[in-house]
């Protein structure tokens, strides 16, 4: 693998281009959480009432937080990268400079994670304004770190999909068969306790389940030893997906 500090240059390039999209993306990042929190949290929460001693919103927020990181990071490295690679031919000019293909792809993954972090952070701010506060300042810091980890993981996974994608349509398989189901099987909106055993097992194979578990624990400040396993799953998947993503993208970029 031929990685260098030039990853930062690609990140910088994306930051330059982001200036033009910053207002709409911030608006979307603000409206989306409000939509979830208001409809589910207040509408459904009114029926559900208290959940483990706290209002439903306390259950919902940590899950929605990591889902939003997942969505944003994934889409950035699916559609964003695909446009840059196929439509704008940006990678072609990048790899003719001292920036290597690996630098360029890693820079885009880092960018995808950064976009996820922005979405997650905005959502956290909205939640805090609504009175749903993390347990402590440490929780806030840990949540930010967690968002970066999750962002890198989903950005890398998306990069693998992009490297094999012949067209935009291909992304539907990934989003509809992988991303969307995770929203419902990972305990974002309701606990998984009442699921039959096979569904519980299935959910254990979903990376978002582990992200939600950690997020919820960190948000409430109540930890348990099972979280270490979840963290291990996330880090292992992240490192694996990153390595594979760089390889498969390089294969696509260099012919």
């Amino acid at each position: 693998m031929n990685l260098s500090y030039r990853i930062y240059y690609i990140f910088l390039r994306n930051l330059y281009s982001y200036k033009r999209f910053i207002v709409p993306t911030f608006l979307v990042s603000l409206v989306e959480p409000l939509f979830y929190l208001v409809t589910f949290g207040i509408g459904m929460g009114a029926y559900i009432g208290y959940f483990g001693g706290k209002p439903y919103l306390y259950f919902l927020v940590p899950g929605v937080l990591v889902s939003s990181v997942m969505m944003t990071s994934s889409f950035e490295c699916l559609y964003g990268t695909f446009v840059k690679m196929i439509h704008e031919k940006l990678y072609d000019s990048l790899i003719a400079t001292p920036v290597s293909a690996e630098d360029a792809v890693a820079g885009d993954i880092a960018w995808g994670a950064f976009r996820g972090l922005i979405s997650g952070t905005l959502m956290m701010i909205v939640a805090m304004v609504m009175g749903v506060l993390p347990a402590s300042v440490l929780s806030v810091v840990l949540l930010l770190v967690l968002m970066v980890l999750i962002g890198l993981m989903f950005a890398s996974l998306a990069m693998i999909v992009t490297s094999f994608s012949p067209s935009f349509d291909f992304f539907n398989y990934y989003t509809e068969l992988f991303i969307t189901p995770m929203l419902f099987f990972s305990g974002v909106f309701f606990p998984l306790d009442k699921f039959p055993p096979w569904m519980k097992t299935l959910s254990e194979f979903m990376p978002l389940t582990h992200a939600v578990k950690i997020s919820r624990a960190v948000y409430s400040g109540v930890y348990n030893s099972g979280l270490l396993w979840s963290l291990l799953v996330i880090v292992a998947l992240e490192v694996t997906a990153f390595t594979i993503g760089l390889k498969t993208m390089k294969k696509r970029l260099i012919k």
């Binding site: 030039r6 240059y9 390039r13 330059y16 281009s17 000019s93």
Partner: protein
């Protein structure tokens, strides 16, 4: 003169297709070297290997004494690329395109700003400094690609069909700039399908076809050797070929029938003209031989797809 690029039995396979099929050549420092050939001849593949974005399948390829390899950042640092396709960053302005690109080459910001101001002047785009890429004409985009290729003050410039799709004014401006660079000592590698472009710019050329080099030489000498001085095109029905070829034999040093036209290659156009008047043929044309004739003679006049 020193050799800058040297290729020996260079090959590139895509699966079972041999895009470049064992070619050898040497490019000297400070010259303009042209790769000519129809679509799919292997020109672009060859130059992509030279500027280290495509791996070599087999054979030896060195640039500036270093082996060309996709991870050779040192070579990429001394090379400027004017790509065939317009690969500008459409999300950025003209200036941002250049400042970001200068980052990729680790050019310090102050130096980059100075070079960008000079280069925008060089390609006559000063007024478009803060324009979006979508607001530029094709000619302006190509000129910006030239400016971008010069940011790192390259020793070697690879121009892959740099004037495709341009109007004559824009094309001549690019040619002038490329010639100017050559006088400054830059080595230029050009691929093109425009014979006029090759004649205007190149010191030496190779004609490629189906991954192989068919001929190598100085453009004007190639024309003289391969074709002669003049070409006479006669439009007559095919049935009359034998008769006319016989009648013109003493003046011609070669002929070819393509479609509705009979081409005669000759050293003495004047004599042939007289004869044509004598034969009372009306539909004919005499013109100086060009590189295009060499190209067509070598690669065939029928369509290549």
């Amino acid at each position: 003169m020193n050799t800058l690029v040297s290729a020996r039995d260079l090959r590139k396979n895509y699966g079972s297709l041999a895009a470049v099929d064992g070619i050898s050549f040497e490019i000297r420092e400070g010259e303009c070297f042209g790769f000519l050939g129809p679509n799919g001849a292997g020109k672009t593949t060859t130059v992509k290997m030279i500027h280290c974005v495509s791996p070599v399948t087999s054979g030896a390829l060195t640039v500036n004494g270093l082996p060309a390899h996709i991870n050779n950042r040192a070579l990429k640092k001394m090379t400027g690329i004017i790509p065939q396709e317009i690969t500008l960053d459409v999300d950025l302005t003209v200036y941002e395109n250049l400042i970001i690109f200068s980052k990729f080459f680790d050019i310090p910001r102050r130096e980059a700003k100075k070079r960008i101001a000079e280069l925008l002047k060089f390609v006559e785009l000063e007024a478009k400094r803060n324009s979006k890429i979508s607001e530029l004409s094709t000619g302006m985009k190509r000129r910006l690609l030239v400016a971008r290729a010069l940011l790192n003050q390259p020793k070697l410039i690879v121009a892959d069909e740099p004037t495709t799709g341009l109007d004559p004014q824009a094309r001549h401006l690019i040619w002038q700039r490329l010639r100017q660079l050559k006088t400054e000592g830059v080595t230029l590698i050009l691929t093109t399908q425009y014979m006029e472009e090759a004649q205007q710019l190149c010191d030496r050329i190779v004609v490629m076809h189906q991954g192989k080099i068919l001929k190598e030489g100085v453009p004007s000498k190639l024309v003289a050797e391969q074709i002669g001085r003049e070409v006479v095109e006669v439009r007559v029905p095919k049935e009359e070929d034998e008769r006319i070829i016989g009648q013109l034999a003493e003046f011609s040093c070669g002929h070819e029938r393509v479609g509705d036209t009979l081409y005669f290659y000759c050293r003495d156009g004047h004599g042939m003209m007289k004869k044509l008047v004598e034969l009372d043929l009306h539909n004919y044309l005499t013109r100086p031989a060009t590189l295009e004739d060499v190209f067509l003679k070598l690669t065939g006049r029928s369509l290549i797809e």
